[in-house]
């Protein structure tokens, strides 16, 4: 993995002061909770704006972004520290290829994360995509299968391209609600989380606009059409999620290899064998015996045995 040495987080200084203050405030909160390192994993389909989001958060151009082409071929980690606090953001390539989930890419991501602890998962998608389909579900499923269900307790949904004018007759809020509802539903299905459980620990949806033409408010902060400054909001939500609990995911060899289905239930094989012998083989044997007893013998055979009783 393209690892960069931990550098001072200089990008933060380029943010408007209001943003800087808020970020410091949230990071300070985390520090109080004895959280000194924050590792964020950014995943999603290709071309949804993962790298741009990473750039926006860091405030530097750490990941190459191109409009029409996937630039990231392997996961890229960039680490920034500020005031004894380290922020790691892992940018990953899109895991969809040719209309299918690219397990190979997923495998590469998984292996590159060996011995890392993931605190936050940012699942990135676009706000301006109107539909969700089975591919989304497969992507969610692939992520879940890779890191386990628990990762969604530390998961955030990031909807990029937030600065849009919704289609006719819908307010921005409605559109956002509808879009996030549809996406959450697919996440729930893909991750196979129970409905009730899902409602209790709802996955927050955050809007992001990475475009340089994003509107700014009086303080120079980038704001969304609904008037929220998105970057502080994102960091705040991240902080909330961490505060809410859930477990960070340690990517170890076991997780990478996945559960070995070949080992499961091996212990019970003698029991299964005994069951099969007594309840399957014996039963079939009994049935064969009954067949033999029940076998309709031809009349000449019955007569020979004196069983026909001279009736036939």
């Amino acid at each position: 993995m393209a690892t960069q040495a931990v550098r001072e987080w200089l990008g933060i200084q380029q943010f408007p002061v209001a943003t800087q203050n808020k970020l410091h405030e949230y990071l300070g909160k985390l520090k109080q909770e004895n959280v000194n390192t924050l590792t964020i994993l950014v995943m999603g389909k290709g071309g949804v704006g993962k790298s741009s989001t990473v750039n926006s958060i860091i405030g530097e151009r750490v990941a190459a972004v191109s409009a029409f082409q996937s630039e990231v071929l392997r996961p890229v980690i960039c680490s920034r520290s500020r005031a004894e606090f380290t922020l790691n953001i892992i940018d990953t390539p899109g895991i969809v290829e040719g209309g299918y989930v690219n397990e190979q890419a997923l495998e590469v991501i998984k292996r590159s994360l060996l011995d890392k602890t993931i605190d936050i998962l940012l699942y990135v998608d676009r706000l301006d995509a109107y539909r969700v389909d089975t591919l989304d579900r497969q992507v969610i499923k692939a992520i879940t299968d890779t890191f386990g269900k628990g990762i969604w307790q530390r998961g955030l949904i990031v909807l990029t391209h937030a600065q849009l004018s919704p289609p006719d007759g819908l307010s921005y809020e409605d559109f956002f609600a509808k879009r996030s509802e549809a996406l959450l539903k697919y996440i729930r299905l893909g991750a196979r989380i129970k409905k009730q459980e899902f409602q209790e620990n709802s996955i927050p949806v955050v809007l992001v606009e990475n475009s340089g033409r994003c509107k700014t408010d009086d303080n120079g902060e980038k704001v969304l059409p609904n008037g929220i400054a998105w970057l502080p909001n994102l960091v705040k939500t991240i902080t909330d999620v961490i505060m809410n609990g859930g477990k960070s995911i340690l990517v170890d060899q076991k997780l990478i290899d996945g559960p070995n289905p070949n080992d499961r239930g091996k212990f019970f094989i003698p029991l299964i064998l005994a069951f099969q012998y007594f309840f399957v083989v014996k039963r079939i044997q009994g049935a064969i015996k009954r067949d033999i007893a029940k076998e309709s013998k031809p009349l000449w055979e019955l007569r020979d045995m004196g069983l026909a009783n001279r009736q036939f």
Partner: protein, 827 residues
């Protein structure tokens, strides 16, 4: 084998001084006598006793290419192997034999002088052979034709009398040969002509219309008729016809006895025939009375000693009905009763059963004496190629255990038991020719010796066969280099030690120029009767070395996936098992398998992982591992068991019944990576008959509903080549092999409705197969890697065309249908 012509054998020894009237005193019994094959004490019918006798032996006539000599060969069953391969011919002769036995009945009277050979009869009278008191004529269709021709060739003399006058028999000239143009029967009692040629009298008269006879012959005929017991009085009259021929009228009065209302059937097989004591004409009335009393006593004793017969109550009741309806017991009635009783026996397969006698006439109860054909001896004979009796290599207990116990001495011979024996012996695959013949026992009257004649196959055989195969080369065109010589070398050593043990080996290569490429070999040793040949438990030990090469359906792409590089699974191993047969179809097999599995790619080099073409055109080589060890080579030993319960049977050519199979592979932790697993499969199939139908040849088969369920699962180590695959003609129709997935647990459900149409059937089916979500539990998840659905359904219709099934199946995943042609049965 001999052909059995439905010929009728008429043996008619003629009573010495048979005068035609006043013969009737007291007809005590109408007796039947075994004509030939065994020299029985000849019954002499004296003037005062008239006897009706029928043949008592399952005789039939073998007419071999113009040879009309009566041959006492009984119905026989046989099968023959055309070649020292397991090729069966039909079980022949059974029907013919039965027919012959039915047709052959004898009217027979014992009393000497053998008549002179009929003049001009040119081969008409075959030498009777055997006893003095017999002569016989055979009226096979062949002979009748011969006679017709003679008649037509003007070899007869005109009667030389005015037309239309009635001539008594004794008025005819002894020197002329008369042509009989017409034979009429005149029943004096009824005062009318007997109409129809179906009447039982016609069988008795040996004269045929358009035949040429001398006066002496006609007189003989008259004597025969007079003494056969059917007639109280019989006379022959000629009526001259303008064309010089004679119209013959047989005027008769039928014999009758007191009416009876009870019927009894007894089995007199293996009993001594009653001896007729001579009745001295000089006896006083008292002596005569005494004599008759003693005869009656003897007869009662005979009835008491006889064994009950197999004739069922309904048939007996039917006969009783016949007796009651008739009133007086007449000869014709007795014939009808005999025919009815014999018909029942022959219909039921008792080919050797014969009505031999009617006794106790002139009482209220008619006693029908039957020889059912009790087996007195079972003889097993081996023959060499020329038919000479030789000492066989096969041990007799091997054959004996295949015989149904109904063929043992003491049982009644039934042709079905014979057929069963034939089938069972044939299934040993040791003999090229098998015959099961019932033969009359000469030492014991009415007894049957069952003869089993066997021709053994060569014990050792070796075979070399070669073939050319043309493999399409580049551009699909065969080139010179693509013509490959292939061949098989096999040897077989059968029936070692006469105990049906065998060793069989074969080596096959489809490319002899480069045999190491694909060389398949097989070496089998089979050891039956593991518990001893006398033990009824039927266990067979088998050991075999084998190799095989198969395309793995695990590495198959789903719909829309480009060609997946194939993975070949090569297995080489050693297998031993013991099979215990419970019935012909139900068996339990258990044993050990040791094998080495090597997975190879297209180029025959060992591959460790499945691969998939990437959209970019490259090949992703990190697919599911092909072996457990990950090296492309696995070695393992495991136990294997299979229990099959199968009670299916054919109802008019359609399978009906139940079939359950449970198969288990139990890993023992021996081999690469110490494989320990329990892989099990349970298959349940029900063939449910939806309508009752009459069974029999050419009857339509019933509609059948087939329900099928298959569950498979594996706990523990599961290499990809042992994963269950979904899809294919034997899994879910309408998909390719493995198109739906490869999984750890599998469930398949299928239903098929078969509707008979003419000689075949059409069917509707619906099938579903699912991986039960277990695809991810196979290492590398081959289902997902090759983008397969993991489950699928299909439905469709099809028709059976001979061996081929043509079906249209709709694949439910994509909703498209296709037509498939497949060999063999799905279930």
């Amino acid at each position: 084998m001999a052909l059995y012509a439905p010929a009728q054998l008429l043996s008619a020894p003629i009573g010495g001084a048979a005068s035609l009237s006043g013969r009737r005193r007291r007809r005590h019994s109408a007796q039947t006598r075994g004509p030939k094959p065994y020299p029985s004490p000849t019954v002499n019918a004296r003037n005062h006793e008239t006897l009706i006798s029928f043949s008592s032996v399952p005789s039939s006539v073998s007419a071999q290419a113009g040879d009309s000599k009566p041959d006492p060969s009984p119905p026989s069953l046989e099968t023959r192997r055309a070649k020292p391969r397991n090729r069966k011919t039909l079980i022949s002769a059974a029907a013919a034999a039965t027919a012959a036995a039915t047709g052959a009945f004898f009217l027979n009277l014992g009393s000497p002088p053998p008549p002179p050979p009929p003049p001009g009869g040119g081969g008409g009278g075959g030498g009777g052979g055997g006893g003095e008191g017999f002569w016989s004529r055979i009226f096979s269709p062949l002979m009748a034709n011969a006679r017709d021709e003679e008649g037509g060739s003007a070899e007869w003399d005109s009667h030389g009398l005015p037309a239309n006058i009635v001539v008594q028999l004794n008025k005819l000239s002894g020197l002329k040969r008369y042509k009989i143009s017409e034979i009429l029967f005149f029943d004096r009692r009824r005062g009318s002509l007997v109409a129809g040629t179906e009447d039982s009298f016609f069988e008795m008269v040996s004269l045929r219309p358009n035949g040429v006879y001398t006066k002496a012959q006609l007189q003989k005929e008259l004597e025969t008729l007079a003494s056969c017991g059917m007639f109280e009085k019989v006379d022959l009259e000629g009526k001259t016809k303008p064309d010089g021929t004679l119209a013959l009228t047989v005027s008769f009065t039928e014999s009758t006895w007191q009416s009876a209302d009870a019927f009894r059937c007894i089995n007199v097989g293996l009993m001594q025939q009653t001896k007729q004591m001579d009745l001295d004409p000089d006896m006083t009335d008292r002596e005569k009375l005494e004599y008759f009393r003693s005869q009656e006593r003897d007869y009662r004793r005979r009835i008491e000693r006889s064994r009950p017969c197999l004739l069922p109550v309904p048939v007996q009741r039917e006969v009783m009905q016949m007796l009651r309806e008739q009133g007086k017991v007449s000869a014709r009635l007795l014939q009808r009763i005999r025919d009815r009783v014999q018909k029942w026996y022959h219909d039921e397969g008792y080919a050797c059963a014969q009505v031999v006698n009617f006794g106790n006439l002139n009482t209220r109860e008619v006693v029908c004496e039957v020889v059912e054909g009790d087996i007195t001896q079972l003889v097993i004979q081996f023959q060499d190629k020329l038919g000479n009796v030789v000492e066989g290599n096969t041990q007799l207990p091997v054959i004996r255990r295949e015989l149904p116990k109904q063929l043992r001495p003491g049982h009644v011979f039934n042709i079905e038991a014979g057929k069963q024996a034939l089938r069972n012996i044939n299934s040993l695959a040791l003999f090229s020719n098998i015959e099961v013949n019932p033969r009359p026992d000469e030492k014991s009257e009415g007894g049957i010796i069952v003869e089993i004649k066997l021709k053994e196959l060569e014990q050792k055989s070796a075979e070399v066969s070669t073939e050319w195969s043309i493999v399409p080369g580049r551009n699909g065109r065969p080139t010179l280099a693509s013509i490959q010589p292939g061949g098989t070398v096999s040897f077989e050593h059968r029936n070692i030690k006469g105990l049906n043990r065998s060793i069989l080996g074969s080596v096959t290569s489809s490319n002899l120029l480069n045999p190491q490429d694909d060389l398949s070999f097989k070496l089998d040793y089979v050891h039956p009767y593991l518990d001893g040949v006398y033990n009824p438990r039927n266990r067979t030990f088998r050991a075999s070395c084998f190799n095989s090469r198969k395309l793995s359906p695990v590495f198959t792409g789903g719909p829309g996936v480009d060609e997946v590089p194939p993975v070949w699974i090569d297995r080489v191993g050693f297998k031993t098992n013991i099979t215990e047969s419970f019935t012909r179809q139900s068996k339990f097999t258990y044993g050990l398998v040791m094998e080495e599995i090597i997975t190879r790619d297209e180029t025959s080099s060992i591959c460790t992982h499945g691969s998939r073409a990437l959209p970019s055109g490259g090949l992703s080589m990190d697919g599911p591992p092909t072996t457990l060890s990950g090296t492309g080579t696995d070695r393992m030993a495991f136990a294997q068991a299979n229990i099959t319960r199968d009670n299916t049977k054919f109802v008019n050519g359609t399978v009906v019944g139940e079939r359950d199979v449970f198969q288990l592979d139990q890993g023992l932790g021996i081999g690469s990576n110490f494989p320990f697993f329990n892989r099990h499969q349970l298959t349940l199939t029900r063939f449910i008959q939806l309508k009752k139908v009459e069974e029999g040849a050419n009857k339509p088969p019933p509609p059948v509903l087939v329900l099928h369920g298959h569950y498979g699962g594996c706990v523990g180590d599961l290499p990809s080549y042992d994963a269950f695959t979904l899809g294919g003609p034997y899994s879910v129709r309408g998909y390719n092999m493995g198109e739906l997935g490869a999984c750890r647990n599998i469930l398949e459900l299928a239903g098929e409705l078969r509707i008979p149409v003419r000689n075949t059937h059409v069917y509707l089916f619906a099938e579903h197969g699912t991986d039960l979500g277990s695809s991810k539990d196979v290492k590398g998840n081959p289902t997902e890697f090759f983008r397969r659905a993991g489950q699928g359904s299909s439905y469709g219709v099809g028709a059976k065309l001979g061996l081929v099934r043509a079906e249209y199946a709709v694949d439910h995943n994509s909703g498209t249908g296709a037509v498939f042609f497949r060999f063999g049965e799905r279930f």
